[in-house]
């Protein structure tokens, strides 16, 4: 524990990801090196097709990498993600990582509270009764306690995303990974979600979040930019000049401030 405590939480070492398709090989990530520190709120920004989701999938291990290594030092152990079997990875991910997608990915046949209970059920870390209490607590935290027994179809998109966040927090994971979590929400709702994230970071959690909204940059504790599968050096930010290529999102971002 103490040993890993001094190490960065997540390390990327020369991560390369090539997509193979009919058209040939497409290099989506071209040798990424990066480190995520504990309790930071890291933003990954880049325009559409830059490779943000691909990069994020390397954090969660849901997709294979072509070469390189992703190492996570958490819960007292250091793990190279892509050496784990799909099964061990699922279990590890359930306990270590909360994942949030732009499309909320709730299970439509389960009520909100059951959706939130699901990761606890899967990890087997909590007694069923305990997990129910915890799920209700989390829903209370995201201000959805009064909807706890509704099905996802009967609440709004912003509310669904808050459920997804509550679900991501269910197993108390040290890391939360979010891919455009506010992408399909209006600016007020997006701001709400963002505030939630900020509170989570304050309470000691680490969040890695992908967005193409440059306006959000100041609210991250740190941000990196990705262009065509490569990270730009932090100081050098030519992308700023291209802000006009996301006029709408830019406004949303500003509105969110």
């Amino acid at each position: 524990m103490t040993e890993t405590q001094s190490l960065p939480l997540i390390e990327f070492r020369d991560v390369v990801k090539n997509y193979k398709s009919e058209a040939g090989i497409f290099p989506a990530l071209k040798g990424i090196n990066l480190q995520v520190e504990r309790s930071e709120f890291l933003g990954i920004i880049g325009k559409s097709g830059a490779g943000k989701s691909t990069l994020l999938n390397m954090f969660t291990g849901v997709d294979e990498l072509t070469s390189g290594e992703v190492i996570v030092h958490a819960n007292g152990e250091s793990i190279s993600l892509h050496t784990l079997s799909e099964n061990d990875l699922a279990l590890w991910r359930g306990r270590t990582m909360g994942v949030i997608y732009q499309s909320f990915q709730l299970l439509p046949m389960l009520t909100l509270v059951q959706n939130v209970m699901m990761p606890m059920d899967m990890s087997g870390l909590y007694h069923p009764r305990k997990s129910r209490e915890k799920a209700l607590e989390l829903l209370d935290m995201v201000e959805l306690i009064e909807h706890a027994h509704k099905l996802p179809a009967y609440i709004s998109g912003g509310q669904q995303q808050r459920v997804a966040i509550a679900r991501a927090l269910a197993n108390d994971p040290p890391v939360i990974v979010a891919d455009e979590p506010t992408g399909s929400l209006d600016s007020v709702t997006a701001d709400h979600i963002f505030q939630l994230f900020e509170r989570l970071v304050q309470s000691g959690r680490t969040i890695v979040m992908v967005t193409h909204d440059k306006g959000l940059v100041p609210r991250f504790s740190r941000h990196i930019e990705i262009v065509d599968g490569e990270l730009l050096p932090p100081s050098n930010s030519p992308l700023m000049g291209e802000n006009h290529s996301f006029p709408l999102r830019g406004k949303v971002g500003k509105g969110a401030k």
């Binding site: 969660t60 799909e86 699922a90 990915q105 299970l107 046949m109 899967m122 990890s123 991501a168 269910a170």
Partner: protein, 808 residues
């Protein structure tokens, strides 16, 4: 409930149509197997138990009149355990107030309490009649209703009509068991004989049991042969002789063969229903891909997800068992009961057959597990990434992309070729064509199910016609319009004169009979054979010869014999000589011809009247006459039979039975119809499974395309266009399966016909094809395709665009 089980539960109840489809698919197969296994168990046990319980005779000899003293002598023949003599005669009966006569054979039993052979089981009333009372066999209910205490009228051969009290109804599973065309029976004591103007103290039938080897056919035949020796040495005549085992109902092998066929069809249905389940489940897993992805994302392992879906499969199985087990038990009993009444044996009572129960449970649980295993394993192994992006195509089959595009380019080419000829195919039509082939595995399974259902359905109709045609062929041995049997011999001239008085009668023939045994070279008995002796040139037999020639007037010690002789002499050819024991003598006869006949009826042979009459000392006399009239319609025959019957009785002839020629055929066809009914039930079940397959596939296709349909509607497609798109797809599948069914129905028909005819006739029959089955199936397929596609399509078209696009 833990969320994972909550999810499984929701999967089960949320999409009720799909759950019902899966549950019914399993239930149909489980039901069919349950009915068949249950019926098989019940029938094979009860048939032999109830048969043996009544101590059936091993030997029955119909012979000229004999008395108590000679009966005693026969009781001392080696190997004989018990003997009983009975006096059997035919009357006609009707309930009071009816004018419809029914033939009845009356059996006189000396002592009902001490009777040892062919026991009766009481059904209602008494089982031992007093003087001037009669017991009726319960089969009488097929002709009229009667209760103990009722009085019925009967008519004697001299036309007098009297009445008698029915003392009870009994079941008799032994007497005439071999002959399910025999008339019902009545039972009286000798004290009642006077009422019927019948002589006392005589017997004309001998029933005997053997002491040991009650189930050893060869032994029984040997004893029979001993008895016949004794009978014939004492100058009695044997008309017919039968032998049967104690613990085997004479029709048991036939019934078992029929059940065997049904069982094979049941397995086919089961097989089809499992392919249906596999289809539905892999679609379900496809739909659940995203859910699986989500669960894996939040920490679900393969094993856990696998277990969740196995529980779902298990639940499907249990639900289907809830439906199929009770129904199957009922069905098994109903089928057994139906067989029992038709064939004439008693069931031991309603019960659950443990074997059927276990088999059903095993099948109900294992079939969905087996059918779902591959899709479930595939589904639970899918990676999160692929599951969330819904990208299974590449996982499922590597060349998928390429094939799709090959299909596409073929389509483009085909469309342009057609366009060159001025045929334009509309866009939605193209979409439906492509949809049809998009899910190749599903299409193949659906086609397979429909195809097997269709081919079985069509074959059943073909076999039905083949069987009836065959009965017609057999009818060529019974060409007389009316058959009259007398209680004793009459001069042929005399009968001829009387009969020709009726202007409708064009010819009269008197036939002779002899009973013989075919021997092996070592003098053991191979088979009984009934020799029919029509005048050699008789036009009333039109045999279907498989070898050699027909009988000729000058034939001496020569006969034509039915095909079942092959059982004893497999290599027999026309011209061969076989040892025969006839009229108490061992002789060598020449087989001049071999002909086709219903093997089940035993071996029969023809020899010329000219020779047999001389040998049996009945020259110019006969007790059995064949009459030809100017019309061969059944109604005319019936009319003539009735008139001749009355006429001969009026003139003092002792008529035993008069029957119209086609009636025997009709009854034979009726028993064939029982078989056909079973086959049709099976055909309908296979059709149901096929229909469910199509309905399932279409609704899955539509379900998966709900979003696509929403988008099409959003860009302006009308409900009509959407329904047409799906309809074309359904019809296309239906038509492809129909064309394939036509082809597959050929081998199926031959196979089914071979199985059925070997089972019932012990000889394969000529196959006949009829358009009826094809026509009905075509109609059904069109109807099914329309229903199976329009119903889900309408459902999808009704959804609003918003609902569709929000569709999960």
């Amino acid at each position: 409930m833990r969320p994972r089980w909550r999810k499984v539960f929701s999967d089960l109840i949320d999409n009720k149509a799909r759950t019902l489809l899966v549950v019914f698919s399993i239930a149909v197969g489980v039901f069919a197997i349950g009915v068949l296994v249950g019926a098989y168990e019940i029938i094979s046990t009860d048939m032999s138990v109830s048969y043996a319980a009544n101590n059936p005779s091993n030997i029955e000899i119909r012979m000229s009149d004999f008395d108590e003293e000679f009966l005693h002598t026969l009781g001392n023949v080696e190997g004989v355990e018990d003997v009983e003599g009975r006096w059997v005669f035919g009357i006609r009966v009707r309930p009071l107030g009816s004018d419809e006569w029914t033939s009845l054979n009356v059996i006189t039993i000396d002592n009902f309490e001490e009777n040892k052979i062919n026991l009766l089981s009481p059904v209602s009333g008494t089982a031992a009649p007093e003087k001037n009372q009669i017991l009726l066999q319960k089969e009488i209910f097929e002709d009229f209703d009667v209760a103990p205490g009722d009085t019925i009228e009967f008519q004697l051969s001299d036309q007098t009509v009297k009445s008698i009290v029915v003392a009870g109804i009994v079941a008799d599973s032994s007497t005439d068991a071999i002959d399910f065309l025999a008339p019902p029976l009545g039972y009286i004591t000798p004290k009642t004989l006077r009422l019927f103007n019948e002589p006392e103290g005589n017997f004309n039938r001998l029933y005997a049991t053997v002491g040991e080897g009650k189930d050893d056919e060869d032994h029984i035949k040997d004893v029979l042969s001993n008895i016949k020796d004794k009978v014939e040495k004492n100058d009695y005549m044997v008309w017919r002789a039968f032998n049967s085992k104690t613990h085997e109902h004479p029709l048991e092998s036939t019934i078992n063969a029929v059940l065997g066929i049904l069982f094979a069809l049941g397995v086919l249905i089961l097989f089809l229903s499992s392919s249906l389940i596999a289809n539905t489940l892999s679609a379900l897993l496809n739909q659940h891909l995203r859910h699986i992805g989500v669960m894996k994302l939040i920490g679900g392992r393969d094993k856990l997800i696998f277990r969740m879906y196995i529980v779902l499969l298990f639940a499907f199985g249990v639900l289907s068992l809830v439906i199929a087990v009770p129904l199957g038990g009922q069905g098994a009993y109903a089928l057994s009961e139906f067989m029992g009444t038709k064939i004439g044996f008693e069931l031991l009572g309603y019960r659950i057959v443990p074997l059927a129960f276990i088999v059903q449970i095993l099948i109900g649980i294992l079939v969905p597990l087996a059918a779902g295993l591959v899709p479930v394993i595939k589904g639970s192994r899918v990676t999160v990434q692929k599951a969330l992006s819904g990208d299974l195509a590449r996982e499922a089959d590597e060349g998928g992309e390429k094939k799709e595009s090959r299909l596409e380019s073929f389509q483009i080419r085909a469309v342009s070729v057609l366009a060159d000829r001025g045929i334009r195919i509309s866009r939605p039509l193209l979409v439906s064509l492509r949809n049809t082939f998009r899910q190749r595995n599903r299409l193949i399974l659906t086609l397979f199910t429909l195809l097997m259902g269709g081919a079985t359905f069509i074959s059943v109709f073909n076999v039905r016609v083949s069987l009836t045609e065959y009965i017609q062929v057999v009818g060529n041995y019974f060409l007389a319009d009316v058959t009259i049997s007398f209680e004793k011999l009459y001069r042929i001239n005399e009968v001829q004169q009387f009969a020709m008085d009726d202007p409708r009668v064009t010819a009269v023939e008197g036939w002779a009979f002899a009973s013989a045994e075919i021997l092996y070279d070592d003098d053991t008995v191979a088979d009984n054979v009934d020799i029919l002796a029509p005048p050699a040139e008789s036009p009333l037999v039109n045999p279907l010869l498989v070898d050699g020639r027909w009988i000729a007037p000058t034939d001496k010690r020569k006969l034509a014999i039915s095909e079942s002789v092959y059982d004893s002499y497999p290599d027999l050819q026309a011209g061969d000589k076989i040892p025969l024991k006839i009229l108490g003598r061992e002789e060598i006869w020449e087989v001049v011809g071999i002909f086709k006949f219903i093997g089940m009826e035993g071996t029969i042979a023809y020899a010329p009247y000219e020779y047999i009459a001389k040998e049996t000392n009945v020259v110019n006399q006969s007790a059995s006459f064949r009459i030809v009239s100017d019309s061969h319609e059944l109604e005319v025959q019936e009319e003539l039979a009735k008139d001749l019957d009355a006429f001969f009785r009026d003139n003092g002839f002792q008529v035993s039975e008069t029957s119209p020629g086609l009636s025997m055929l009709n009854e034979a066809s009726e028993s064939i119809d029982i078989l056909i009914t079973f086959l049709l039930i099976m055909a309908v079940l296979t059709a149901v499974v096929g229909a469910m397959g199509l309905a399932g596939t279409m609704s899955m296709n539509v379900l998966e395309r709900t979003r696509e349909i929403g988008i099409m509607r959003a860009v302006g497609a009308t409900d009509f266009e959407i329904i047409r798109m799906v309809l074309v797809e359904g019809l296309l599948i239906g038509m492809i399966s129909f064309v394939l069914s036509i082809l597959v129905a050929f081998p199926f028909t031959y196979l089914l016909s071979w199985i059925v005819s070997s089972a019932t006739f012990e000889t394969p029959i000529a196959v006949v094809f009829t358009p009826v089955g094809y026509g009905i199936w075509l109609g059904l397929v069109i109807l099914l395709s329309v229903l199976a596609s329009v119903i889900p399509a309408r459902g999808a078209a009704r959804l609003t665009i918003r609902e569709v696009l929000a569709y999960e």
